[in-house]
Amino acid sequence: MATKILINCNHGQDDAERATLPFVVGNVAATADQETVVFLTIEGVRLATKGYADGIRKEGFQPLGEVIRAFVANGGQVWACGACTKPRGITEADLIEGARIVTAANVVEEVANGAAVLSV
């Protein structure tokens, strides 16, 4: 299975369900042996910072912090858009394990190389 799966998430505490579902689906993909990235943009980049997701829970879902930790433990990657982290004052030092700041060029490169982009 060579195709990387990119799942976009652009919400944080402003919308618990939209913040959670990309990681739920990402965890399913990661545990099905798929190379999976949750790509965070806009308010979603805050999910890559330590402690932020622990206060987010949508009824019917696991707490988001738990979902993200499971996703990373299962090999999932968290990419945070650099154009969105910078104006929010987020740096590499703020990030959770498994997360990194990337540029738009990194994402475009993956898509150009055949990555599948999933919107949930």
Binding site: N27, V28, T31, A32, D33, Q34, F61, Q62, A70, N74
Partner: protein, 81 residues
């Protein structure tokens, strides 16, 4: 699909698990088995009848049998690759 059930080495009883949580549970449990051993997964989510075969195809752990017990409950038998 309903086929005769093989002998299971380990049982994963997963009532209440949905599509979002069942296959991660299966993955965690099947990793504990030796190659060739069979995991029996008991689910009460009818959607698992589509999801578990898809997970099997993606991961390569063969789904060797499926037993439909009633409208909701299903037993899946997965062999560790």
């Amino acid at each position: 699909m309903t086929t005769p059930s093989p002998r299971a080495d380990v049982v994963l009883d997963a009532p209440g698990s949905s599509c979002a949580t069942l296959t991660p549970l299966i993955r965690a449990r099947i990793r504990e088995l030796e190659p060739g051993q069979v995991l029996e997964v008991r689910s009460d989510d009818p959607a698992a009848r589509a999801g578990v075969p898809a997970w099997s195809r993606l991961t390569g752990h063969p789904l060797v049998a499926v037993v439909v017990d009633d409208a909701e409950r299903t037993r899946f038998y997965l062999r560790r690759k």
